[in-house]
C-alpha cells in the first residue's frame, strides 16, 4: 500500500525536473529499486496510470531497474546475494556481514521532449 506514496513522489520528481528543463512531455522515467525497498512494480504502475493524468508525465513509460541486495562478509570478504531469506556467509558461516547494496530507491533519470525553439 505504501506504493501510492512512492508513486506520488516519483511523479513529483519527474514533473519538477521536466519543468526545470523546459520539457513539454516526459516520455520515460528510470527508477532504481533496491531489493530491500519492498516496492511492487505492478502497484506503482497501477497508481501511475491514474495519478500522472493531466501532468507532463502522463503516458510516460516507467522503467524499473531492480538492484539485488548483496551482503559482504567481513571475515572472508566473500560477497553473496541476500536471496529470499537472510543467511550467514555461505563461504565461512560468519554472521559478521554488512549490506553492500539493495537499499536504493531513486529516480535515476528521465527522458523529456522539449519545446521547439
Amino acid at each position: 500500500m505504501h506504493e501510492l506514496a512512492i508513486t506520488e513522489s516519483i511523479l513529483s520528481i519527474a514533473n519538477q525536473a521536466a519543468q526545470e528543463n523546459h520539457g513539454t512531455k516526459v516520455t520515460d522515467i528510470y527508477v532504481v529499486i533496491g531489493q530491500l525497498s519492498s516496492i511492487v512494480d505492478d502497484s506503482v504502475q497501477f497508481y501511475w496510470d491514474y495519478i500522472s493524468q493531466g501532468t507532463v508525465s502522463e503516458g510516460a513509460k516507467l522503467h524499473f531497474e531492480r538492484r539485488p541486495a548483496v551482503l559482504h562478509c567481513k571475515s572472508c570478504d566473500h560477497q553473496y546475494p541476500l536471496g529470499e531469506i537472510l543467511q550467514p556467509c555461505p563461504n565461512c558461516h560468519s554472521v559478521d556481514v554488512f549490506i553492500e547494496s539493495g537499499e536504493e530507491l531513486l529516480v535515476d533519470h528521465i527522458d523529456i521532449l522539449r519545446e521547439e525553439e
Binding site: H2, I13, L82, V95, L106, D108, H109
Partner: protein, 219 residues
C-alpha cells in the same frame, strides 16, 4: 528526439525533508521524539501504558497514535492514563509519514512536554521507509511472532536505533530461539541497543525507562 535529464534523486526525499522540519520543531521545544513501530499485536499500546506508569516525575509525555481507521481504542487508553494524545487516522494507509506527524504535532502541548511517543501503524514493511523526524526509531518485536522476523523483514531492522523484545514472559511456552533471533538482528544492525521486557509483568522495564530518561535529560 527525447533528451535525457539526469536526476539521481531519492524518492523519499520530500518525506525526508518534512521529517527534518518535524525534528526542528521537536528540538526547538527540547522534546525527544520516538517512532514506535511493530507488527499488529506486538504490544505497542501495552508497552506505552506500562511506560507511562513507570516514568519519573520530570518526564512529560505526549503520544501520537497512528491508526488505519477512526477507532480511538488506543488513544482513549492513553488519555485515560492522563497523557495528552492525538490520533492520526491514516484513512487505510499502512504507515505514518512525516506530513501526517507534522500536522499532529501542533495539536500536542509541546511547550509542556519533553518526550513524544509516536505509535506507528502495526506493520513491519511500510513504516520502515518513512522517516517521521523523531530522534529514534524503535521496534517492538514480541516473541510469539517468531524468531525468524529479522530474516524475513530485514529492512525494518536496518533503520532501528533501539529494539524492544516484548512478551518475554511467554518464552517458556513457545519455540523462540533468542540466539537465532539476535544473530539476525546483529547481521542487519550490529550492536543495536536492545531491551528484553514484558509489558505484562513489568520485567526488564527498568533498563528501558533508564534509557528513555537519559535521552530526555540530554535534550
Amino acid at each position: 528526439m527525447p533528451q535525457r535529464v539526469e536526476i539521481v534523486k531519492k524518492i523519499m526525499d520530500s518525506n525526508d525533508r518534512l521529517a527534518q522540519n518535524n525534528q526542528a520543531i521537536l528540538d526547538q521545544h527540547h522534546v525527544y521524539g520516538i517512532n514506535l513501530m511493530a507488527s499488529p499485536g506486538a504490544g505497542k499500546t501495552s508497552v506505552i501504558l506500562e511506560t507511562i506508569k513507570r516514568l519519573p516525575a520530570g518526564i512529560k509525555l505526549g503520544v501520537i497514535e497512528g491508526d488505519t481507521a477512526p477507532v480511538t481504542i488506543d488513544a482513549d487508553k492513553i488519555v485515560a492514563a492522563g497523557i495528552p494524545a492525538v490520533q492520526i487516522n491514516t484513512g487505510g494507509d499502512c504507515h505514518l509519514d512525516a506530513n501526517m506527524v507534522g500536522m499532529a504535532l501542533p495539536e500536542l502541548p509541546l511547550e509542556e512536554l519533553n518526550l513524544i511517543l509516536v505509535e506507528n501503524v502495526g506493520n513491519l514493511i511500510c513504516p520502515a521507509g518513512f522517516q517521521l523526524g523523531t530522534h529514534a526509531n524503535v521496534l517492538i518485536a514480541s516473541v510469539p511472532e517468531g524468531d525468524d522476523k529479522p530474516y524475513k523483514y530485514p529492512k525494518i531492522y536496518r533503520g532501528l536505533d533501539v529494539l524492544i523484545i516484548n512478551k518475554i514472559d511467554l518464552t517458556p511456552y513457545i519455540d523462540f530461539r533468542m540466539d537465532y533471533f539476535q544473530q539476525g538482528v546483529e547481521m542487519l544492525n550490529p550492536g543495536l541497543t536492545t531491551f528484553a521486557l514484558s509489558a505484562k509483568t513489568g520485567k526488564g522495564f527498568d533498563a528501558w525507562i533508564a534509557w528513555l530518561t537519559d535521552k530526555v535529560k540530554a535534550k
